[in-house]
C-alpha cells in the first residue's frame, strides 16, 4: 500500500479506561440501531428518551409501536436536519460492565463525509464498521477503511448486520468476513474482528445469539471490553514530548505547563528545547494534585527547570539530543492533507500552520497527488478541494520540530488555517521532514543592504500599487519613476504585465496562479530592496491574503501598500488594454472586476485617487518615499 505510510505508535500509551470509537456505515446499514442498542442496554439512555423511542415512529420503521425503536435514540438531530443545520460529528458515551468508558464519535454527514470521518477518526482507537449483509461490501466500506488507516486507527470491529434478513446464513457471513479482511489488509489494517449481528434483534450485540450457533467469537460489547491497544515500538529516540501550552508564574516559581504526549518524564531528567537546543535538567514535576515523581503520557504536567533558559508557549520540551531523528528542526515537510474548507488550496498561498500550541506561516509548495478514496489509487492533482486527501510538500517560514504522524498523533499532526478568515482549511499528517533547517545557513555578506543604500545615497523601499485593471497603476508607476530618476535616485519598476511575459510566463489567472504570481513578484521586490533600490510594483493583486503575504516578507516601514482607488466605471471606460471589452464579451473568464472580485485593502498604508491629478499623486508619493 502506498497511500498510508504507517500508523501512530504512541497510541499504545493511552490509558485504556477510556476507549474512543468511531462508528462508520452508509445510510441505512443499521448504524443508529446498533449504537442505540449499545447505549440502551448498557443503561446509558434516560427513561424519558426510551419512552420517546417507544412512542415515536418514523417512516419506514418496522418496529411495532410500544417496543423501543433503537434507531431513534441517537436521533434527536432530526430537528436540525429539517432546519438545514449540518451535523458534523456527534459524540455519545457509554460505560461497559468493566467500567471502561466508550466515547462514540458518529459522523453522519453525507456531503462532507470524508472531512467528518477524518475528524472522528483523528482521536479514535477503534472503528466500528457496519456492513449490511443484504447489500454486501461496497465502495463505501473501502472508503471508510482508507480514512481509518490514514488517520491511524489500528483496530476495526466490523459488524455484519441484518443477518436476520438473510436467514442467519453462515456461508454469507464467511464470504463477507473474508471480503472485509482483504479490504482491510489493502490498507494495512491487521487487527480486524468480524462479528455477525442483527442490530434489530440484538443478536451478538450485547449477548450471544442462539440463532447463530456456528459463531464462537465475541459480541460487539465483548470486543469493546476486550480491546487492548496494539503493542508499539517506541519512537526513534524514546524520548518524552511536552509541548508547552502555558507558563505558570508564582512568586519564585516558573513552570512550563502542558500535556505529556509521549514518553515519561521525571525530576532529574535531562531536557532540551527542540529547535533552539537550549538544554537543562528537570527540577520538579507537578501533576494535577501537586508534585509527582513521574508524569506519563496524556497527563497534565507542569515542570520547572534547573537553569533559566528561554522557553515559550509553543516550544517542545523533549529528551536530548533533539538534533537527531525527526525532531531536528526542518523548514520543509512531506505531509498528507485532508482539505476541509470550501475554498480550494491555493498553490503558493501562505497559511498559518498550527502544531499544538505552535503557530508558524507555511506555504504548500507542491501537490504530489490526491487519493481516490474508493480505489486507493493516487491521482494527479493541481489543487485540493473540500474532502480531498492529498499528498503535498510544504515549507514553513521558520524551522519547526515535528514528529512523523506514524510516531505521534500529537506532535506529528498540524492544522492549516486561512490567514484572513481564520477558518481551518486542512488537517495535516507529517510523513517526513524534507529539508533540515540547519542545512541552509544564509551566508552573511559583508556588503549588505545598508552599505548598498549608503553608496546610492538613498533609503531603499518597496511601494506596492494595487487596484483594478485600468486604475492607473502603470501610468502612476511610470510618472513616479521618471520623477525619482530625475532626482538622481536609483529605482526599478516591476509591472504585472511585463513580469508575466518573462519570470511568470507559466502562470495563468486562476486564484492559485495569482497567488504564485504575487509571491514571485514579492520575492523579486525583496531582492531589489536588498540591492538598495526604490522598487515600485504595479500589480492588480486582487486578493487581500496574497498582499498580506507579500507584506509579511518585509520589515515594517520597508513596504508601503498603496491602493490606487479608481471607480470601477472609470476603469471600464478607460479600458487602456481593451480588457473590459473582451471580458464583457466573455473572452476573459477570470478578469478582475468582471469575473473575479477585487478585495479592497482594509488598512492600506496609502490611498491615491486614480481619477485625480497625476501630478498631485506623484508629488504625494515622492514625499512619502524620500
Amino acid at each position: 500500500m502506498t497511500l498510508v505510510d504507517a500508523a501512530p505508535l504512541r497510541a499504545g500509551h493511552r490509558p485504556v479506561s477510556v476507549l474512543r470509537l468511531i462508528a462508520c456505515g452508509s445510510v441505512d446499514d443499521g448504524k443508529s440501531t446498533l449504537i442505540g442498542r449499545l447505549l440502551a442496554e448498557t443503561g446509558s439512555v434516560p427513561d424519558d428518551q426510551l419512552d420517546y423511542a417507544r412512542r415515536t415512529r418514523r417512516g419506514g420503521s418496522t418496529v411495532p409501536v410500544g417496543e423501543v425503536d433503537y434507531s431513534l435514540l441517537t436521533d434527536g438531530l432530526e430537528a436540525e436536519h429539517e432546519q438545514g443545520i449540518t451535523i458534523d460529528v456527534a459524540y455519545r458515551h457509554l460505560d461497559l460492565p468493566s467500567g471502561r468508558r466508550v466515547i462514540i464519535a458518529d459522523a453522519p454527514g453525507h456531503e462532507q463525509y470524508t472531512r467528518n470521518m477524518a475528524v472522528a477518526t483523528s482521536t479514535a482507537d477503534v472503528a466500528l464498521l457496519l456492513v449490511d449483509a443484504t447489500k454486501g461490501i461496497r465502495a463505501q466500506t473501502r472508503r471508510h477503511l482508507a480514512v481509518c488507516a490514514l488517520m491511524g486507527v489500528r483496530t476495526v470491529i466490523a459488524a455484519v448486520n441484518k443477518l436476520d434478513a438473510r436467514g442467519y446464513d453462515h456461508v454469507l457471513y464467511e464470504e463477507l468476513a473474508g471480503g472485509v479482511r482483504s479490504a482491510a489488509a489493502r490498507f494495512d489494517v491487521e487487527d480486524v474482528e468480524v462479528i455477525p449481528v442483527s442490530a434489530l434483534g440484538g443478536d451478538n450485540v450485547i449477548t450471544g445469539s442462539a440463532k447463530m450457533p456456528w459463531y464462537h467469537g465475541p459480541t460487539v460489547l465483548g470486543a469493546l471490553s476486550a480491546w487492548r491497544p496494539p503493542e508499539h515500538e517506541p519512537a526513534d529516540d524514546g524520548g518524552f514530548r511536552l509541548p508547552v501550552q502555558y507558563i505558570v508564574r508564582a512568586d519564585d516559581f516558573r513552570g512550563f505547563a502542558g500535556t505529556v504526549v509521549g514518553g515519561s518524564l521525571r525530576p532529574g531528567d535531562p531536557v532540551v528545547v527542540a529547535g533552539s537546543g537550549a538544554a537543562s535538567t528537570i527540577a520538579t514535576v507537578r501533576g494535577p494534585d501537586g508534585p509527582v515523581d513521574r508524569a506519563d503520557p496524556d497527563m497534565p504536567a507542569t515542570v520547572t527547570l534547573a537553569d533559566e533558559i528561554d522557553v515559550r508557549r509553543g516550544d517542545l520540551l523533549t529528551t536530548p539530543p533533539a538534533t537527531s531523528g525527526d525532531l531536528e528542526p526542518a523548514t520543509a515537510f512531506s505531509a498528507h492533507l485532508v482539505w476541509t474548507a470550501d475554498e480550494p488550496l491555493a498553490h503558493g498561498r501562505s497559511y498559518l500552520l498550527l502544531a499544538g500550541p505552535l503557530t508558524v506561516p507555511a506555504v504548500v509548495t507542491t501537490i504530489r497527488g490526491k487519493l481516490d478514496v474508493n480505489s486507493g489509487e493516487q491521482l494527479a492533482a493541481r489543487t485540493l478541494g473540500i474532502n480531498d486527501i492529498g499528498t503535498v510538500e510544504l515549507t514553513t517560514n521558520s524551522p519547526v520540530s515535528l514528529d512523523r504522524y506514524a510516531t505521534s498523533r500529537d506532535t506529528g499532526s498540524f492544522l492549516l488555517v486561512d490567514r484572513v478568515s481564520k477558518d481551518t482549511v486542512a488537517a495535516g499528517m507529517v510523513r517526513h521532514p524534507l529539508r533540515r533547517g540547519t542545512n541552509i545557513v544564509p551566508h552573511d555578506y559583508a556588503v549588505d543592504r545598508a552599505a548598498r543604500s549608503r553608496l546610492k545615497g538613498q533609503r531603499s523601499r518597496v511601494l506596492w500599487l494595487t487596484g483594478l485593471p485600468g486604475a492607473g497603476k502603470s501610468t502612476i508607476a511610470d510618472a513616479l519613476e521618471r520623477r525619482l530618476h530625475s532626482m538622481g535616485l536609483h529605482t526599478y519598476v516591476l509591472d504585472g504585465d511585463n513580469v508575466r511575459s518573462g519570470l511568470n510566463k507559466d502562470l495563468g489567472f486562476t486564484p492559485e496562479d495569482r497567488a504564485e504570481n504575487v509571491r514571485r513578484v514579492a520575492e523579486t521586490a525583496r531582492l531589489l530592496l536588498d540591492a538598495g533600490l526604490i522598487v515600485v510594483v504595479a500589480l492588480v493583486s486582487p486578493f487581500r491574503s496574497d498582499r498580506m503575504v507579500a507584506k509579511s516578507l518585509f520589515d515594517a516601514g520597508d513596504f508601503l501598500e498603496c491602493w490606487v482607488d479608481t471607480p470601477a466605471e472609470v476603469c471600464a471606460e478607460r479600458d487602456p488594454k481593451g480588457l473590459y471589452a473582451k471580458a464583457k464579451a466573455g473572452k476573459i473568464p477570470n478578469m478582475t472586476g468582471v469575473g473575479q472580485g477585487y478585495e479592497e485593502p482594509e488598512q492600506p498604508d496609502l490611498v491615491v485617487n486614480g481619477a485625480g491629478s497625476l501630478e498631485d499623486t506623484v508629488a504625494e508619493l515622492v514625499s512619502k518615499l524620500v
Partner: protein
C-alpha cells in the same frame, strides 16, 4: 485482536482522563486568547470548572476572571454560596445584571420564561462580554445534557454579535484547537464536553468540592405548577388565591432562576445518597428546566441567539 480476560476499571481512572482533557483545554485557552473569562453559574458544573482551573494553573493564580450573570431571580442560597466561594478562593469575581431589563420590569411572570431568559441571561451575557472585550468564554456545558448537544464542539465559534453560525464551526481534530479569531469573532469553550452528570458528581465527591446545599434534600416550601414543584424562595412569587406553600422533602438537579427551576422529591441528603439516587433515577437532567420546554423552542434556536 488480542482477547484477554476483562479487568475492572476503576471509575477513578475515567475521571483522571476527563480531568486531563479539561485541564488541557483550560491551559490552551489561557495561552491562546487575549482576554478569556470563565462563566460561573454557581451550579455543580461551574464549581467543577473552577476547581479544574485552580488545578490547571497551580501554584500560580487562575489567569482569568470569573463572571456571573445575575438575573436577580436566583435562589438566595446560590448568591450566598457565590460570594463565599469568591472569598474562599480569592478569585476575581465579576457580576453583571442587565439593568435595562430590570428597569423595564422584566420578570419570569410578566414576560414569559423564554423572553425573560433572552433578556436577562442572553442579552445580559452579551453586554458583559462586549463591555470587557472578552474574546473567549469558558462554560460548563456537557454533551450528555440533551440529545441535541451531542454534536457540540469544544471550541464553539461566535461571529460578530455573538451569532452562532453552524456553517462556520470548525472541524476539531486530535487535541488541537484552531484558536485564531478573525475581526469580531469570539470563542465559547466547553472543557467538560465529554463528562456525564454522574462523572460530575463523582468528581465532586473525589475532590471534596463544595456545592450549593440546594442539591441536597431538605424540607423546603414548594407549590405545584403544571406538575412541577417550585420552591417559593421569597415573597415575589405570585401565589394563587388561597394557595399556601407546603413543606416537602425536595432537592434540585440543576440550578437556575428559582421560579423556573423544578425541584424533585428526594431523600438524598448526602453525596453518597445523591449518587445512588442518580444511578436509579433515569430521567434526563434538563427535564427539570422549565425554559427548555416552552413554545417548542429548541436549544438550537436559543443558541443561535447567544444563550449559553
Amino acid at each position: 485482536m488480542p482477547v484477554e480476560a476483562e479487568e475492572a476499571i476503576a471509575p477513578e481512572a475515567v475521571l483522571d482522563v476527563l480531568e486531563a482533557e479539561a485541564i488541557h483545554v483550560l491551559r490552551e485557552v489561557a495561552g491562546a486568547f487575549r482576554r478569556p473569562v470563565l462563566l460561573y453559574s454557581i451550579g455543580k458544573d461551574s464549581s467543577v470548572l473552577l476547581h479544574l482551573a485552580i488545578k490547571a494553573f497551580a501554584p500560580g493564580p487562575v489567569p482569568f476572571p470569573v463572571l456571573h450573570i445575575d438575573t436577580k431571580w436566583k435562589f438566595r442560597e446560590m448568591i450566598d454560596f457565590r460570594d463565599a466561594t469568591a472569598r474562599r478562593l480569592g478569585i476575581d469575581l465579576r457580576v453583571h445584571t442587565n439593568e435595562d431589563g430590570r428597569a423595564e420590569g422584566v420578570t419570569p411572570f410578566t414576560h414569559g420564561s423564554h423572553e425573560y431568559t433572552r433578556i436577562m441571561k442572553t442579552v445580559a451575557l452579551r453586554q458583559a462580554l462586549d463591555a470587557a472585550g472578552f474574546d473567549a468564554a469558558i462554560g460548563g456545558a456537557r454533551r450528555d445534557e440533551e440529545r441535541s448537544r451531542a454534536k457540540e464542539r469544544m471550541f464553539s465559534l461566535r461571529e460578530p454579535g455573538h451569532r452562532w453560525e453552524p456553517r462556520k464551526q470548525r472541524p476539531e481534530f486530535w487535541r488541537s484547537a484552531n484558536t485564531e479569531l478573525a475581526e469580531g469573532q469570539t470563542m465559547r469553550v466547553f472543557p467538560l464536553s465529554n463528562w456525564t452528570e454522574l462523572d460530575v458528581w463523582r468528581y465532586i465527591k473525589r475532590e471534596a468540592i463544595p456545592v450549593v446545599p440546594l442539591y441536597f434534600a431538605k424540607p423546603r416550601p414548594v407549590v405545584e405548577r403544571d406538575g412541577a414543584l417550585i420552591m417559593v424562595d421569597d415573597d415575589r412569587y405570585p401565589l394563587h388565591e388561597g394557595e399556601r406553600p407546603e413543606e416537602r422533602l425536595v432537592r434540585f438537579r440543576t440550578l437556575g432562576c428559582y421560579p423556573l427551576t423544578a425541584a424533585v422529591e428526594s431523600k438524598a441528603e448526602t453525596l453518597d445518597e445523591l449518587i445512588d439516587e442518580m444511578r436509579a433515577d433515569r430521567r434526563s437532567e434538563r427535564a427539570g428546566r422549565l425554559i427548555d420546554g416552552e413554545g417548542g423552542k429548541s436549544m438550537e434556536s436559543k443558541k443561535t441567539e447567544g444563550y449559553f
